[in-house]
């Protein structure tokens, strides 16, 4: 991904020879990577591959054993005002006594500095961020009373309130329904349109091609990184998910499906169509029975009965 010789614009993120270890066990190994500015990049890999660790290493949350990280050509510490972060949703306690607006306001704390409280300007900005993710009606709601997808959108709104140039997002689509996913993707595309760089950990192989300009395939080591069309191939997926046969076959199947589909349609991904047609979620455990219908938007069983059926007159 690096563009040697391009000195004027340093890459948004540059990792050199990066190794990260927990208790001496390396979980990321010799990563060399450069992410150019203004792109939407997916980080793909199986569970435990080190995707979250990669993001945390960029943010300085976990120390690098060797190697270094540069953000816009400098150390992270000197550029942190330009970086926004969406952590994995499970990383906080959603019973915490704050409202959605309070959480979004936290995105403005960095700019405020010590001891200053958010004022009218910050509130306006936070409400604007909530509106962009379609959550303005929930501003006063306690976060414990939000659904998973709404919590995810609150986190996204907090990152928007940070108003960053580079966004690092850890599984922003985890556990959200199709409608929320679409809403989030639209916000991400907006950000990209404005020239921001997005580095997004993503789990659903079926949507990778539709969402990302570039992908980074990791599993302990960097398997491949580059434009999605070049890098998101069967061989690379096999190398990333290596050894897990069922997943391999499904991964191959996905790639084939997308290869079939690519020439026929335009840039817009057949996101929901591909989802509905898929016999099984890619990363569902081997042998799991295929869901009877698309999981997203599935209504409670009772609601699908026609009215009057169970109360029919004798």
């Amino acid at each position: 991904m690096s563009r040697p010789g391009d000195i004027q614009t340093p890459p948004a993120v540059e990792l050199h020879d990066l190794t990260v270890a927990y208790h001496k066990k390396p979980v990321l190994w010799d990563i060399d990577l450069a992410i150019p500015e203004g792109e939407m990049v997916g980080i793909i890999g199986p569970n435990g591959a080190g995707k979250s660790t990669l993001i945390k290493a960029v943010l300085g949350l976990v120390p690098a054993a060797t190697g270094w990280v540069r953000v816009f050509g400098e150390s992270y510490a000197s550029r942190r005002r330009e970086v926004g972060y969406v952590p994995q949703r499970e990383s906080v306690d959603w019973d915490f006594p704050v409202s959605a607006l309070d959480v979004v306001l936290m995105g403005t704390y960095g700019r405020l500095g010590w001891c200053r409280r958010p004022g009218a300007a910050e509130r306006k900005q936070a409400l604007g961020a909530l509106e962009r993710v379609g959550m303005q009606d929930f501003a006063r709601r306690q976060i414990s009373q939000l659904s998973g997808g709404q919590q995810q959108r609150v986190f996204l709104a907090r990152a928007l309130a940070q108003n960053a140039r580079l966004y690092l997002m850890d599984e922003p689509f985890a556990g959200v329904d199709a409608a929320t996913e679409t809403a989030i993707v639209n916000v991400l595309r907006d950000l990209k349109q404005q020239g921001r760089t997005l580095l997004v950990v993503h789990h659903d192989l079926q949507t990778v091609e539709g969402y990302f300009d570039r992908v980074v395939l990791v599993n302990l080591r960097l398997v491949a990184a580059g434009p999605t069309r070049e890098v998101f191939t069967r061989d690379n997926l096999l190398a990333t998910y290596g050894g897990r046969l069922t997943i391999l076959d499904q991964a191959a199947e996905t790639v084939r499906r997308f290869e079939d589909w690519l020439p026929q349609t335009g840039a817009e991904p057949p996101h929901s169509a591909a989802r509905a047609a898929a016999p099984q979620r890619l990363l569902s455990p081997p042998g799991a029975p295929p869901p009877a219908q698309p999981q997203h938007g599935a209504a409670p069983q009772a609601a699908r009965r026609p009215p009057g059926e169970n109360h029919a007159l004798p």
Binding site: K56, L59, G60, L61, A77, R80, V83, Y85, P87, S91, V92, D93, F96, P97, V98, S99, D102, V103, M106, Y109, G110, L112, W114, C115, R116, R117, P118, Q142, S147, G149, Q150, R158, Q162, D177, A178, A179, H296, G297, A299, P300, A303, R304, P306, P307, G308, E309, H311, A312, L313, P314
Partner: protein, 453 residues
Amino acid sequence: MPFLEYNTAIVLGGTTLLGFASGVIGVLGLLRRRALLGDALAHATLPGICLAFLLFGRQFGALLFGALVTGIAGVALVALLSRYTRIKEDANIGIVLSVFFGGGLALSTYIQKNSVDAAQAGINGFILGRTAGMVQADLIFICTAAVAVCFVVLLFYKEFKLLCFDPDFAAVEGWPVVRLDFLLMLLLAVTVVIGLPAVGIVLMVAMLIVPPAAARFWVAGLAPMMWLAGAFGALTGAAGSLTSTYAADLPAGPVIVLCGSALFLISLLFAPRRGILARARDRRRWRKRRAIRGFLRILYEASEAALPERAALPIADLLGRFPGRAREAEALVAHAARAGWLERAESEERAALRRSAPRAAAAAEGDDAVRLTAAGLQKAAEAARIHRLWQHYLRTSAHIDRDIVDPDAEEIESILPRAVLAQLEEDLKNAGTLPGGGAPVRALAGLPRELAT
């Protein structure tokens, strides 16, 4: 003798302020999951108190300073053990707590045996708390420290809020998380230490936990929770120290903590929304409302075929829809009758019987059927309408926003956007299944089971 002696008054002031401070800082401790660490801290103060006594004699400031030093040392030890061994934090807390407290008890026994001053030192007073022996200077010291703690919390409110909610995000934003954590720990330590003379080592942690836990039942936001926890703490401290002053034999600590526990119990039971009673009542009401609405729908659907005539509905048929729940069904019929939604009627069989054999019909007891009244029909049609609109919404539009679906909402109008609602109604109208609305509704029979979507 005046009601409050001067000394009692200042003790009261001291414990009130102390209670307020421990309630406020306790909220942060609780949210940062430091409650048990507070307990370790309190217990780890005892060796410090004893050592300070051995070194400096009975000097209030020196004793508290000694307490602070070993208290913080204990917490630091827990942190080190958790970091550099594989032992989990709760076990480390137990280890540190018992080792420090055991050492402290040994030291205090030694002092008791070897020091003439021991009784005056009142080291035992630190274990269970004693308000009687305090003098003005001590209390001024306690008050100053309590006010200082509250001031620091006020100053760094925003930073602490972020630290407690999402420390990773705080670190990413450049806040010195480790130092903030240390400051929070220091505030907890200071509060614990100034609480020791009155509340005692053994129960001090209750002052940090009970008021915030009680406050959580009443309010939802962080700032309100802190104010209320502070108020609860103040009340606890005041009530406890007054009680222990007038019942001189009781140690202050247990009395104060018992007052706090009473507050907690009241909150647990009677808090308006989160309390146990309120929740049970809400659940009961919700179930009842739900059952009534479901029954209204059944009545509507049973009457629907004959509309606009209000058909007679045999009671046996109605009860038959609640297999095994006859009493519930009878209660529902009775409720609907009381509300004026149902009137007595005669089933067709009975009417036929009356025409053919009037005497036999008269012999059968009572009425065997009911009929919706005009008001009842309106109610029932509304219940059916809302139900069908939600069903239709779920079938056609739930992928747009499933979170808003609330089949028990009395008013669908206040939840769904007007355009969506209009579309749903239009669909139902076209299918002939939109209840009410003035226009006669076509009978359900003969229509395709699935609504047009």
